[in-house]
């Protein structure tokens, strides 16, 4: 069970993140989670949105370089050590985590961790087998 993430290439110059958010805002796309990774010269914005197809199309029309990546979303307890526990089964299976980022769920005492690994399906299975709830895409987009 995997989730589609939209990634956008940005040069490090002022106003570009604003342009991205305005572009998808105008298209009526709502952002669920967002993370920016940057170097001194450029950055990559990663977005989980309610409508990945529409987000991708609108960003393309606005002239951005866009790519979709497959990630997994896992629910973890919002308490000390919660994240460490979720990583253990992945490390034990020697899966290399490219990056991850978290956000808090509005309605529950839970955090959602977005994880990028090369073997997304396998990671999803590994987490489920030790009792984690991997969030299905429809649910995540609608959160």
């Amino acid at each position: 069970m995997t989730v589609r993430q939209i990634s956008v290439f940005l040069e490090n110059k002022s106003g570009r993140l604003l342009d991205v958010t305005e572009c998808i805002g105008k298209a009526g796309v709502n952002i669920r989670a967002l993370c920016v990774a940057d170097t001194s010269e450029f950055g990559v914005v990663r977005l989980i949105v309610d409508d990945p197809v529409k987000a991708r199309e609108s960003l393309h029309e606005c002239g951005f370089t866009v790519k979709e990546a497959i990630v997994i979303a896992v629910e973890v307890d919002d308490r000390p050590g919660g994240l460490a526990e979720v990583l253990r089964p992945l490390v034990e299976q020697e899966m290399n985590i490219e990056y991850l980022y978290c956000f808090l769920e509005k309605s529950a005492d839970k955090a959602i961790v977005i994880i990028r690994v090369d073997e997304a399906e396998q990671a999803s299975g590994a987490l489920k087998s030790v009792g984690y709830r991997v969030i299905p895409p429809e649910e995540l987009y609608a959160m």
Binding site: S7, F9, E11, F42, V44, T65, K67, R116
Partner: protein, 431 residues
Amino acid sequence: MYNPEMEAMGRDELSELQLARLRETVKRCEEMVPFYRKRLREHEISWKDINSLDDVKKLPFTTKEDLRDNYPFGMFAVPVKDIVRIHASSGTTGQPTVVGYTGDDIGNWAELMARSLVAGMADKSDIIQVAYGYGLFTGGLGFHYGVERLGASVIPISGGNTKRQIRIMADLGTTMLCCTPSYALFMAETAEEMGIDFKQLKLKSGIFGAEPWSDRMRDKIERLLNLSAFDIYGLSEVMGPGVSIECVHKHGLHIFEDAFIPEIIDPATGASLAVGQQGELVFTSLTKQGMPLLRYRTRDITSLDDTLCPCGRTHVRMKRVSGRTDDMLIIRGVNVFPSQIESVLMQIEDISPHYQLIVERMAGLDVLEVQVEVSDEMFSDRIKGLEEWQEVIQGEIESYLGLGVKVTLVEPRTIARSEGKAVRVIDNRDL
């Protein structure tokens, strides 16, 4: 003067010598170089038609493309067994141009370099640090042979390893420095970091060239390095460094007219321009055996000045080169054409054809930045993936040009498109 007989020769006598050597050179080209035999026949001219110096204008031009088309040895006027040295420079589309020297050519070159060094205040007692690159580039070995001919002491340190350069300068008491002007400024910075004051060193003068620079930069070099800075000009096709040099009056570079006939032409029409007018500099070699050249178009823009120089040299002077008729850049002594970068980029799959070159002078060193638009194919959500692209592009350009560049990834459609010829180069160097 190293050779007053030649350097201060009366103009009439010099003209006679030039005419005799010009006839010999054209004869040599006609008889020994199939390319020239054909070209001269096409222009219905023979060495026998050369009866005055003005007749040089009847000769066809030679271009960099001609040298490239005859790569590697097609322009040689002697069998390769008589060539004792080969140098090369980068070409516009990847084909380097090769130049060959006979033993006599190397001797004549050394003589002109010895004259250049003396014009730049050298004598036998000097310790001269040659920090031009040694290798296919003509800078290092050109200076080296000149210093030995003069009988001064040469430190053949070549380029790079700047801290060691400064250390040696201090320990050995170097009195003259020869390198590119931008490297001289970089040395000044490094010395400061090392806590070495140039006022404590024994440098009296420096001969700088192989890249464009200005009088403002000269002032800076003279102030920071505490020496007198001289401009030298040359290009490998014509010989290498030592085609022309400034004397202590520093109002133009004396062209060694016993070895070269300079002309200024209109780069668009090829028409000869009068002394004093600005245009493209053209050389005909007069003594070269291995690779004589008839009216070689340098693409460098300058003008000539034949007024008398108080130094006593009778040879005509050229102004500092003010620009190029093509889009060639000179970065740290390396010739770079935007088309070369383009051909490297085109060979890399998935890369966008849109690029821009930005040249900056940082801490005295020229830095070439290559901006490439990120295509959908290149893009990855992983930072590492993008950095790998930068490394690949950098590596390809470096292995092709022999020059380190900085590659920057930019967003699509951010590099200005223009109708017709795209603006590929932004030169921010404050010369």
